[in-house]
C-alpha cells in the first residue's frame, strides 16, 4: 500500500510521543496512582487498624451525616471497623491481586502464546488444546471447586485466577506470533542463524507487547471484579483481610440502612476498573499504528 492517501498520518509521527502523553486520560491515571499509593502507604495513612473491631461504634454513619463523627470519616461497618481504613488497606489486597494476576497472566499467556505460535505443529496443538479446555470450563465454578478444596487464601485466590485466565491472552499472542513468523525480519533472522529462543525473545516478543499490555490493562478491572464475585459467594480473600470486593459483598445486607458499608467500596471498585479500562482503551489507540489515523 502506498503511503500517499493520508499524508497527515505521516505528518503526525514526529510529535507522536508528546501527543500520546497529552491524550493520557489524566483522571484515570490519577485514580490508579491513588489506588497504588494507598496500597503502598496503607500502614501509614490509614487512621485505624482495618481489622480492629469496636462493638460500641457499629454502623457509625459518615462524618457529614446526622450522627456521624470525624472519628469515622466514611462511617463504620457492622463490626465497628472504620470503612476508610478498610478501603485503604483493601487497596493493598485488591491491587495486589489485580497486579499479581495480570502480570503473571501476561508472562504465562505471552510465553505460551509465543511458543505455540512460533513452534507450531504438535507443541502448538497441545498448548492450544490446553487453552481450549480452560476456555470451555466455566471458570467461576472451577474456582469455586478449587477454593472449597484448598481453602480461600490470598495466594490461593491469585493462583486460581492466574491459572484460569492465561488462555485468552495466549490465543491472541499466538495469532500475532503466527503472523509475525511470516514476516521478512523473522525469515532474515532465521537465515542469519539466530536460534529460535533468541528470535522469540528479541524479534517476536517486542512485537506482541502492544497487545499484551493492552489486554493486561483491560484485565485489571476484570480481576478486581472476579475477586468481588468470589467474595460474594463466600470464597474470596478471607477476612479479616479487607478487600474491596469482600467489603461490597459483606455490606450488601445493609444496603438500605447502612449503605456506606457497601457503597464506598463499590464506588472505588467502579472507579478503579473504569480507570483501568480507560487506560486500556487509550493504550490500545496509542499503540495501534492503524488507529493513529482515526
Amino acid at each position: 500500500m502506498a503511503e500517499v492517501s493520508f499524508p497527515h498520518a505521516q505528518e503526525r509521527r514526529p510529535g507522536r510521543g508528546f501527543a500520546a502523553l497529552r491524550r493520557l486520560p489524566l483522571l484515570s491515571g490519577a485514580i490508579i496512582a491513588a489506588a497504588l499509593l494507598a496500597a503502598l502507604l496503607a500502614p501509614w495513612i490509614a487512621p485505624y487498624d482495618p481489622a480492629a473491631v469496636d462493638l460500641l461504634r457499629r454502623f457509625a454513619p459518615p462524618a457529614w451525616m446526622d450522627g456521624g463523627s470525624s472519628l469515622h470519616i466514611l462511617g463504620s461497618d457492622d463490626l465497628g471497623r472504620d470503612v476508610l481504613s478498610r478501603l485503604i488497606w483493601g487497596a493493598r489486597v485488591s491491587m495486589l491481586v489485580a497486579v499479581a494476576c495480570v502480570v503473571s497472566d501476561a508472562i504465562l499467556g505471552t510465553a505460551i502464546g509465543i511458543v505455540a505460535g512460533y513452534c507450531g505443529g504438535r507443541v502448538d496443538s497441545v498448548l492450544m488444546r490446553l487453552a481450549d479446555i480452560l476456555l470451555a470450563l466455566p471458570y467461576l465454578l472451577i474456582a469455586l471447586v478449587v477454593v472449597s478444596a484448598v481453602g480461600a487464601s490470598l495466594s490461593n485466590v491469585i493462583v486460581i485466577i492466574v491459572v484460569l485466565r492465561w488462555a485468552a491472552l495466549s490465543r491472541i499472542v499466538r495469532g500475532e506470533t503466527m503472523m509475525l513468523k511470516q514476516r521478512e525480519f523473522v525469515a532474515l533472522a532465521k537465515v542469519a542463524g539466530i536460534g529460535p529462543v533468541r528470535i522469540m525473545w528479541r524479534h517476536i516478543l517486542p512485537n506482541v507487547m502492544n497487545s499484551v499490555v493492552v489486554v493486561s490493562t483491560l484485565g485489571v478491572g476484570a480481576v478486581i471484579l472476579f475477586e468481588s464475585v468470589l467474595s460474594f459467594l463466600g470464597v474470596g480473600v478471607p477476612p479479616p483481610t479487607p478487600s474491596w470486593g469482600g467489603m461490597v459483598a459483606d455490606g450488601r445486607n445493609y444496603l438500605t440502612s447502612a449503605w456506606w458499608v457497601s457503597l464506598f467500596p463499590g464506588l472505588v471498585i467502579t472507579a478503579v476498573c473504569l480507570a483501568a479500562n480507560l487506560c486500556g482503551d487509550w493504550l490500545r489507540e496509542a499503540m495501534d499504528p492503524k488507529s493513529n489515523r482515526r
Binding site: 472449597s148 481453602g151 445486607n253
Partner: protein, 506 residues
C-alpha cells in the same frame, strides 16, 4: 442518600395502598402467608431429608412424638410410648382419629412402614438407625413395636421426633415418583403446587387433628440471597423471611421489623485440634489456663448483643441441662477479663503470646472475625481460614488439620446433641479429654432421660472445665425469622416447622 430511607417508607406505603390490586404479587388473599427461605434442601418428600428439609417434612406431616422445647416431649401421632429399660424396645400407641390428606386413616401400619429397616435409607443423616441397627418394626393393632440391636441415646428426642409418618398404602399405590409429585401426610398443611427450586404452595388442612391452621395459604419461596429476602420483606413480597444469624438480623432491627428466633438452641464452641490430629504431640491447649485465657479475652456479652440480635448470651457450659444453670454460680460463664487472660497466658509460660490457626465455617464469619480481633489484644495472633461446612468437616473428621489449630464450630446445645457427640462409638469424636473419658462412656450408657439428666448435673457438669471444647456463645435458636406487616402473631412458635400452624395473619 440520607433521604433514601425517608423516601422509601411513603413510597412503599403508597405502593401497597394504591397498587395492591395492580401489582399481582401484592394482591394476596387475606390469609396467605409467603415465606422466603434460603433453601428447602433437595425438595424430595420421600426420602424425607430431615437434615435439609425440615420445614417441608414438618409442615405436611407429623412425627409420633414431638420435641417442643430442648427437653420436652409431647405426644403427636402417638398418644403414648414406652421404652424398655435396656433401651432396645420402643412401643408407640397410635392415635385413631388422624386422617391423611387423602382422607384415609392413619394406622400403626403406616408408622411401621415409615420406620421399616428397608426404608431406613430414606432418612438422610440418621446413621444410627441404619445399617441393621433396627432389627424389626411391627404393627400390632394400634401399637408399633420397634426393636433395636444397640441402644441409641436420646432416640426419641434426636430421631423419632424428627421423622414424619408417611402413608403406606398411598405410597405403595402411587410409587416414589407419584408421591413426590403429590405428597400427602397428616400435617396442618396440604401441598397443592410444588415447583422445584422455586416454591411450594400449601393450603390449610381443614381436618387437622391439632386444629385447623389460621392461615389459608402458605407459600414457601426459595430465595438464596439474604439481601433479596430482606428486600422481599420490605416490599411485601414475603411476609416471613428466614434470616441467618448475625448479619441480616441487624438490618431487620433497623427497620423496626419483628423477628422470632426458631429451632433448637445451639452454641458456638472452640474445639482444639491437638487431640484430633494424627500425630500425638504435646500442645499448649492441654493447659486449662490457655483455654480459659482464650475464653476470657472475648467480650462475649457484647458479641452476643451486637451480632446476635440480643437474643443470645455468653455460654457457660458445653451442655445445657434441663434446669436453668444460670441460677447456680458454678455455671456462670467466665467473665470478660483481658487482663486476667493475659495473666493466665503468662502463668502458662506464654507471655509473649503465640500464633494459631483458626478454622471456621463461613456462616460464622462475623463471630470468627471478632474473636481474632479480641485475641489480638492479648497477644494471640490468629490466622483465620473460612471453609465451607463440608471442607471443615472433612478436615476435621479426616484429621488433616495439623499444628495447633482451633476450630470454631456450632453444635446443638441440648443434651441430645451433646451426648450424641460424646458417644465413643461415633466416627466424629468431637469432644473428649483424658479426664472425662470414663465419664463419657458412663453417661452414654444411661438410657433413661431422667437418670441421664441427673448424672449430667451431678457428675459431668462439675468436670466441664476439663473438657476441651470451650463454649463461646449460646445462640438461642437456629436462626431468626423476620416478620412482615401482614403477620399479626406467631404465638406458639416452637422447635419444629409445626410452628407455622400458629402463624396468625393480620
Amino acid at each position: 442518600m440520607a433521604s433514601l430511607r425517608d423516601l422509601t417508607k411513603p413510597l412503599l406505603a403508597a405502593a401497597i395502598a394504591a397498587g395492591a390490586s395492580l401489582v399481582p404479587w401484592a394482591a394476596a388473599a387475606q390469609s396467605r402467608i409467603t415465606i422466603a427461605i434460603n433453601t428447602l434442601g433437595p425438595e424430595t418428600w420421600w426420602p424425607q431429608d430431615i437434615a435439609n428439609n425440615k420445614y417441608l417434612t414438618g409442615t405436611i406431616g407429623d412425627p409420633l412424638v414431638r420435641l417442643v422445647s430442648p427437653y420436652k416431649l409431647e405426644p403427636a401421632l402417638a398418644s403414648s410410648w414406652k421404652v424398655s429399660d435396656d433401651g432396645l424396645t420402643y412401643e408407640f400407641t397410635i392415635r385413631n382419629d388422624v386422617l391423611f390428606h387423602d382422607g384415609s386413616k392413619l394406622t400403626a401400619e403406616d408408622a411401621a412402614f415409615t420406620f421399616a429397616p428397608e426404608n431406613a435409607q430414606n432418612y438422610v443423616g440418621f446413621s444410627r438407625m441404619k445399617n441393621g441397627n433396627i432389627v424389626s418394626v411391627e404393627a400390632q393393632g394400634d401399637r408399633v413395636i420397634m426393636k433395636l440391636k444397640e441402644a441409641i441415646p436420646f432416640m426419641i428426642d434426636g430421631y423419632i421426633s424428627r421423622i414424619s409418618i408417611r402413608p403406606k398404602a398411598y405410597l405403595q399405590r402411587v410409587g416414589v415418583e407419584g408421591f413426590n409429585k403429590q405428597p400427602i401426610g397428616t400435617g396442618p398443611f396440604k401441598v397443592v403446587e410444588h415447583v422445584k427450586s422455586q416454591h411450594v404452595k400449601m393450603v390449610a388442612n381443614d381436618n387437622y387433628f391439632g386444629g385447623r391452621p389460621k392461615v389459608d395459604e402458605l407459600i414457601w419461596r426459595v430465595v438464596p440471597e439474604p439481601a433479596t429476602r430482606l428486600a422481599m420483606l420490605r416490599n411485601g413480597e414475603a411476609d416471613v423471611t428466614y434470616n441467618e444469624l448475625g448479619a441480616s438480623t441487624g438490618e431487620l432491627q433497623r427497620y423496626g421489623m419483628r423477628a422470632v428466633s426458631f429451632g433448637l438452641p445451639r452454641q458456638s464452641v472452640l474445639v482444639f485440634n491437638h487431640l484430633l490430629r494424627k500425630e500425638n504431640l504435646p500442645s499448649r491447649f492441654a493447659d486449662v489456663r490457655v483455654r480459659r485465657a482464650l475464653t476470657m479475652a472475648i467480650d462475649r456479652e457484647a458479641v452476643a448483643n451486637a451480632i446476635y440480635f440480643g437474643k443470645d448470651r455468653a455460654a457457660a457450659l458445653l451442655i445445657m441441662p434441663r434446669d436453668t444453670p444460670s441460677l447456680d454460680p458454678k455455671y456462670r460463664p467466665l467473665a470478660y477479663d483481658p487482663v486476667r487472660a493475659k495473666a493466665l497466658l503468662a502463668e502458662a509460660g506464654l507471655s509473649g503470646g503465640f500464633k494459631v490457626d483458626l478454622y471456621a465455617p463461613n456462616n460464622l464469619k462475623d463471630l470468627a472475625v471478632l474473636m481474632v480481633s479480641y485475641w489480638q489484644r492479648i497477644g494471640i495472633d490468629a490466622k483465620l481460614s473460612l471453609l465451607d461446612p463440608a471442607s471443615l468437616n472433612n478436615a476435621w473428621f479426616n484429621r488433616t488439620l495439623s499444628g495447633d489449630a482451633i476450630i470454631l464450630s456450632q453444635i446443638l446445645a441440648n443434651g441430645v446433641a451433646s451426648l450424641v457427640y460424646l458417644d465413643p462409638a461415633a466416627q466424629v469424636v468431637t469432644y473428649y479429654s483424658p479426664e472425662t473419658d470414663a465419664l463419657r462412656v458412663a453417661g452414654t450408657a444411661i438410657v433413661d432421660p431422667a437418670r441421664q439428666d441427673e448424672w449430667f448435673l451431678k457428675v459431668f457438669a462439675p468436670k466441664l472445665d476439663q473438657l476441651y471444647p470451650v463454649p463461646v456463645i449460646l445462640e438461642g435458636r437456629d436462626g431468626v425469622f423476620g416478620l412482615g406487616q401482614r403477620v399479626k402473631d406467631w404465638s406458639k412458635f416452637e422447635l419444629h416447622a409445626m410452628g407455622f400452624q400458629w402463624l396468625t395473619p393480620q
